[in-house]
């Protein structure tokens, strides 16, 4: 039997919704694949595209999860900042020959533990299909 490839997901979660949703999945003992490394952010609006790209260099996919639009964001419009940034990021990824599906944005509220687990399942399947993300880079001094 050949080993199946297990993708590595980095998840940027806002502390009010995405992260609380992940917590809810945990306290409700909902199972999901051990493919995800969560990182807590104050708000999805705080996530710069350079954070996402640096994370992608070390992972196979990056998930960003925050509060539902239009009105759940604790900072009023942070979720829209993330939405806008990730939309243009996807155009950039396509130009660079990277499948834009490797970056995924979802709205997950504090009570949606089940949705968090399903998102991880789903993203893991998708990334298994895509295969590993190989980052070839220039040789750099230092």
């Amino acid at each position: 039997m050949t080993m199946t490839f297990e993708p590595k997901i980095t998840a940027f979660l806002c502390k009010w919704c995405g992260y609380a949703g992940a917590d809810m999945a945990g306290t409700s003992r909902i199972k999901y694949p051990p493919t995800v490394t969560p990182v807590r952010f104050p708000c999805t609006g705080r996530i710069d595209l350079s954070h996402i790209l640096e994370a992608l260099r070390e992972s196979d996919g990056v998930l960003i999860a925050g509060c539902h639009t239009p009105n759940d964001c604790h900072y009023i419009r942070g979720n829209y900042q993330a939405f806008k940034r990730i939309t243009v990021l996807k155009t950039f990824l396509k130009q660079m020959g990277i499948n834009p599906k490797r970056v995924r944005l979802d709205w997950i509220s504090a009570s949606e533990g089940r949705k968090f687990a399903e998102t991880i399942h789903d993203f893991t399947y998708e990334l298994r299909d895509l295969g590993p993300f190989v980052m070839e880079q220039n040789e750099v001094i230092q």
Binding site: T91, M96, I141
Partner: protein
């Protein structure tokens, strides 16, 4: 006093950096007075054997990016033989315009240039590998363009595409200073620390919200107002200042394209700008339109992020070359 030995080597260039030197006019005569030009393909001798022979170069200057093995050979020879190594031009500092080739593979670049472009005849595409015909060698074309500054350690950086006249004058003064006092600078930038915006005289509003991304020819530009607040993309906020007392482009009614590269505080010029422009679109008014409408504004407003935002520094970006995925 002995003349300083001065050498200029080429990577992947357009010729503009040579022209920048001639732009200083009579000041060039000063250079001839204080320096002996031992190697400079456009000026004295361009054979690599010549560069292999000379020793103890005082100031070695590199133009261009690294795309072939030969480019790297020239760079390494200069590094090995020069007391002061200068990265001249944005290509040399950050990979520059030739670095945009990194959005394609070498195979497809050659196919476009030699066969698929409308003005070429499809008579075969040259090989990527090194070719030798009798004595002549065509170096191997590499998979991607590298920034020379990622391969060797420079003492002086002269950004700009091409660098402004003042930078060339400063560089010549600098050769003089080295010859007289032996000063070797340490990672020294002939540029300023701040952003282009800090030197731009245009009126800037406190908050910028772009309702539609405009191209220069589509808008009736107010010559005294910030480009961004008029919907025209200007890279001033992420670009290093130093191209002039007033920025070269914005003072001539053209937006900054970012040729001085990122400011010292920024890791990646294009990514930073992409983030901030995306959030400026419909800033504060996002909820007035549907998400589909917002998405359409973003995808139709910014169709070529690489060409717009990574025009001069793609080889040093976080993601800097074409990947091959389904």
């Amino acid at each position: 006093m002995k003349k300083a030995k001065f050498a200029v080597g080429y990577g992947s260039i357009c010729g503009g950096c040579d022209v920048a030197f001639t732009d200083v006019g009579t000041k060039l005569a000063d250079l001839a007075e204080i320096a002996e030009i031992v190697y400079w393909p456009a000026v004295v001798d361009g054979k690599i054997e010549r560069l292999e022979e000379v020793s103890n170069i005082d100031v070695g200057v590199y133009f261009g990016a690294v795309r072939t093995d030969e480019h790297e050979t020239v760079l390494r020879l200069l590094e090995e033989k020069s007391a002061i190594l200068v990265a001249f031009g944005t290509c040399s500092c950050y990979g520059g315009i030739p670095g945009l080739g990194n959005v394609e593979t070498s195979e497809s670049l050659l196919a476009t240039a030699y066969s698929n472009a409308p003005n070429t005849r499809a008579e075969g595409v040259p090989s990527l590998e090194e070719i030798t015909i009798e004595e002549l060698k065509m170096p191997k074309l590499r998979d991607y363009t590298s920034s020379p500054a990622d391969l060797v350690e420079f003492d002086v950086f002269v950004p700009g595409c091409p660098p402004p006249v003042q930078s060339v004058i400063d560089l010549i003064d600098f050769v003089k200073d080295y010859r007289e006092n032996g000063n070797v600078p340490d990672a020294f930038f002939l540029a300023k620390e701040g952003t282009v915006c800090e030197y731009c005289e245009r009126e800037k509003p406190d908050k910028i919200s772009i309702e539609k991304v405009m191209r220069v020819h589509e808008s009736d530009l107010d010559e005294d107002e910030c480009f961004l607040s008029q919907g025209v993309l200007c890279l001033g906020p992420v670009t290093r200042a130093g191209c002039g007392e007033e920025p070269r482009c914005t003072s001539k009614n053209m937006p900054c394209r970012g040729c001085f590269g990122p400011t010292p505080k920024i890791r990646d010029q294009g990514t930073k700008f992409l983030s901030s422009i995306a959030s400026s679109i419909m800033l504060g008014k996002e909820k007035q339109i549907s998400e589909e409408e917002l998405m359409r504004l973003l995808t139709e407003g910014i169709i070529d992020p690489v060409g717009l935002f990574y025009r001069f520094a793609l080889p040093v970006a976080i993601i800097n070359r074409k990947h091959q995925e389904k």
